[in-house]
Assembly symmetry: C2
Homo-oligomer: 151 residues x 2
DNA sequence: TGCCATTAGTTTAGGATCTAAACAATAGGC
DNA sequence: GCCTATTGTTTAGATCCTAAACTAATGGCA
């Protein structure tokens, strides 16, 4: 049986292609540095790390690695860079001298806020083009995708 | 006015966060090589390039660069690698000796098919968890996102 | 108490990916 | 024929990541 002759398969094909195009766009976006606050240009890794630490966060290096899905070595390197830019602070763990706790400096918090604002604005721009009900369905789809990809 | 006290903002915030999580997952996925057909492991760039050439495609290097949103130099490098793996073929342009035309070899076509099948299977898995109508809305959302990002 | 496996984080070498800029060669209008 | 634009390549360097070897501290347990 020819795969393209089935109308349901045709539809799946088109949808799959559109999803592919979206991934390409995100790839392009995720390549270039952007300015957030007056912290200067931040690379994608840097801003993702700031985001993962969180505004009020105090997180271990290893937790950060798990959250971002990279090795501890990768975290050491990006946190080194962020510390050199005075965006994050490494503090000693009170009860375990092997650990260090990472948190945002004031400038880091400003970058966090600015990045969050960009995301929110983007998301609101999407929402403005959908009805109440459509947004709910979109969010449900995103959650399904998240579940599918987390396995 | 506090941004978090508004229920509409709260909802946008949660949705925006979920979208952020999806981007993180895609980032992780887009980092590691995968096997398609018996072409051996292909890096993300390699498979994206094969995808952009297309199954029956004959495309100029510069068109490929435009389609993938990278510089011509980047394309030269990845096509060099794909040619060394015998997955693509460079042919001279009949009327313009500056240009070269890139197309898929038989092994390249096999990798293309295998990759396409993975995408389709993934998309069908998503579709199986949504109603007919929900899929339509999801696809509409993806198209809106594509439009927003292409600017 | 002292041993030792586990855990936290760092270092290093190297691979993948990309860009910017300089470059060579051809094309095509005037 | 000249000159500018275009095609593709080369090269150096930045970013981002991994794997593996390493240091140091923890904590269970004999």
């Amino acid at each position: 049986m020819n795969n393209e002759s089935n109308p349901t398969n045709q539809e799946a094909n088109r949808g799959s292609k559109n999803l592919g195009r979206l991934i390409l766009q995100l790839r392009r976006l995720e390549r270039q540095p952007h300015t957030f606050g007056h912290a200067g240009k931040l690379t994608p890794s840097e801003i993702h790390t700031i985001d993962a630490i969180g505004y009020d966060g105090a997180i271990l290096m290893s937790e950060l690695a798990a959250r971002l899905g990279v090795t501890k070595g990768a975290i050491t390197q990006v946190v080194d860079r962020l510390e050199a830019k005075s965006l994050v602070i490494r503090s000693p763990h009170p009860h375990d001298s092997r650990s260090s706790i990472v948190s945002l400096s004031e400038d880091g918090k400003e970058a966090y806020r600015a990045h969050e604002a960009v995301h929110l604005e983007f998301y609101n721009q999407l929402r403005s083009q959908l009805s109440e009900q459509e947004i709910k369905i979109f969010e449900k789809s995103i959650e399904i995708l998240n579940n599918m990809l987390s396995k």
